[in-house]
Subunit: 502 residues, 2 copies
Amino acid sequence: MLTEKHIEYLREQKAQALQKGASGLLTEALVSALKAMIDQGEFARTQRLPPSRVLAASIQVSRGTVERCYSALESEGYVHREVGRGSFISPRERPLLGKRSVLQPTLDNAFFSNTALSRRSTNGAQIAFDSVPYQRPFTPGVPETRNFPMHIWLKLYQQVAKEEGALAIGGSRVKGSEALCGVISDYLRAERGVRASAEQVIIVSSTQQALSLCAQVLADADDTVYMENPGYPGAIRAFRAAQLNVQPISVDDSGIDVESISRSAVRAKAIYLTPSNQYPTGSILSLQRRLALIAQAKQRGMWIIEDDYDSEFHYSGVATTSLQGLDGYQRTIYLGTFSKTLLPALGVAYMVVPEPLVEPMVAMRRAMDGAVSPLTQLTLARFMQQGHFREYVRIMRKMYATRVERFIQLLKQYVGDKATIIYPECGLQVLCLVENKAIERFVIAQSIASGIALQGLSDLCCGDDALSGWVMGFAAFDPIEAERYVKQFADILHQYDEYDGK
Amino acid sequence: MLTEKHIEYLREQKAQALQKGASGLLTEALVSALKAMIDQGEFARTQRLPPSRVLAASIQVSRGTVERCYSALESEGYVHREVGRGSFISPRERPLLGKRSVLQPTLDNAFFSNTALSRRSTNGAQIAFDSVPYQRPFTPGVPETRNFPMHIWLKLYQQVAKEEGALAIGGSRVKGSEALCGVISDYLRAERGVRASAEQVIIVSSTQQALSLCAQVLADADDTVYMENPGYPGAIRAFRAAQLNVQPISVDDSGIDVESISRSAVRAKAIYLTPSNQYPTGSILSLQRRLALIAQAKQRGMWIIEDDYDSEFHYSGVATTSLQGLDGYQRTIYLGTFSKTLLPALGVAYMVVPEPLVEPMVAMRRAMDGAVSPLTQLTLARFMQQGHFREYVRIMRKMYATRVERFIQLLKQYVGDKATIIYPECGLQVLCLVENKAIERFVIAQSIASGIALQGLSDLCCGDDALSGWVMGFAAFDPIEAERYVKQFADILHQYDEYDGK
């Protein structure tokens, strides 16, 4: 189908040709108009042209004229005709970028330079943490996906599509499928000591969406949220885009410094933290501090946002019970995701919220997005119900435990003289500390060219006593890959001495 | 695994039992503590209990004590033991709702009544349009999904999972997969006259997410957006949740009244409209008004948000070209979705934005959510590339054209004396107008009990001259279903006379 605009353009060309008089000009004008449009990428690569009868009627010329045009285009290779199917534009090179189309609109530069985007947009864009490309060696938080039992997933996906009918392929309730909310609450109760009924579980597409929802529902523009320093950049991004002030609270070996909250004059609406595996330092919030934090939250009328990321992957014994499970007053919002335990590609995460927040959170989710694909939700529910999730997590926990040992060994071997390596108790990344920010920035700048991606620690810190070094994802590499990439990294790190004139 | 909290509770019970003296009390106390926890749903239904050795060490009792506890639980049917596998909690009824757990936190009522949620949340919750349950007869916008070529989708999904490797199952760029952005821009250029390169396409999970992004990026709290009256409630929801003022502009047979915008003293940041198929009236914005609107937008420095929903399903000849294609200055943001053309369950929609908006929109998307599942995106890209999308839309367009005829025939037959039926030129719903709001509300209230769901027209209107009647989705019903539901609806409508004392 040609669009109205195309037809209009052809009519114009026809009128111009007719004004000039000679009737042979008409076919020529139409052919060159069609060629120009094809050249300039007006049509899809293999688009079918309208039947000559239809186009003839549209631009009010004879059918013979259109037939002559199509033949001309065919002889020049612009079009190929298939018997009984019609005339198709021949696949060809894409139009050159920047080549101006006959129909191309001009960018209204005056408008774009005068029309300010929202302050929220400016806030959101200020966060420059996204320089780390996904799926390059060392990108933090990337799991191994090559062992995922895809055959089981595909089988269950098929089953769901065939057996669940409209429940699977129609729309879904925004809160999430009942089946999935049920298995998640069962799982969290058993594994994480979370106290929650299925009614309190809300399915979201990502932890990022959960953070954005928390920001929107719990606080207004200019309100403050406490967060760990150093801390998770995704959270800062969500809070800043919602125009919240982010008040950093320092972190030590026992997690966030709860004492300093009690001294803080700022009245925060909420505190965001990663108590069971502090991001990026990996420290665990002590029981004493957990209880003190809950008391603080009670006293200050503050929400607790607990991001329990990577808690499935603990290497030194038993996982710490969730903060939510200790909070006797239901003021904690608990976040978890399947992006790392299963696949980033699933697009399923969840939040567990106190009962009074279920309705406002779901209402806000409905204002901000639709439901997560019920096909995916129901497949995941079966995957969990049949025990595949626990089994896969168990296997991966073992594998990551082996990989982290090896990774640390490699780092010690190749850069042990230059950096301090922190053994994580949990999670998919290792901290590598260096003396100063100059080294950190040098290595980051150099690493891009060599195909590896490093997340600078100083980017995750506020204030003067920022840590220097890198958060390094190790989970996605087998020992051979790990050695290759660590060597590349070591080469760059050793170049610094030369650069620094040592 | 038992959680810390569970262990703590068991230790307490042990301590209390030991205080009481008699050693037989210890086993009894532990058994009753475990039973209470099982009864109250502390564990997943078929959770494995820790090996007796492990539990014994945790609560510092002898292994024999734990063995005696497990045996006691087994004899009472709480637990079953499998040789070589361990002790499992036997599946049983869920705990009674409201039954207070030994460990259940109390809701901190003082906190919840004193802690106000955000104004944004209150704004978002004010919108009461969600009374219409999904997938009940007549819910607007629900497509027929029973003919979807699921076997093709499943085949392609499998292919993608197997062939695309990390591209399909790893993370994806937030903007959307290159392949899908490419086929969408090809498609829109050919079918809708949209002028856009693949670079301008952003994949989102729903039109609702696109609307929310527009609200966040283009305007700040207290800014104004124009919108059609009556208009699409999802848009109002997104704008209100972003704290925007929504200024209604009336609609007539030729679409939104552009003249009245030129007289408006309010300076709006953007206008949201459905030019090719006004929601819910179905009117089409005339070419003259389209050009006038573009001129207005230019003069006032205003963004145009064009929601081109359902444009694939046009019944009277050719679809109108998009407004975006006419906008010679690239100030239009174009929205489309696969929820109705394919399946609500896919969770894929898209926006086409002017080049200068690509980066800010993607940055805001990254702050608010992750990427849409690349598995789904790549499957959809293949589905479109192989022509299945066009083919399916073509088949469904024909089917809906037949269904709308039949639906209108039925409405005329059964309620023609009571209501005015509007034949749509496009889309998946029919307007049914009645004299006054009292009838509308009566029928909505009664319809819930009879299993059908009606969207009241007056809910979609602002101001005094609101329309009364219903927006009725017809697309999901074959002729037999349609007749059954229309009869149900007619019965209720005819009850009104009785109720009204006529």
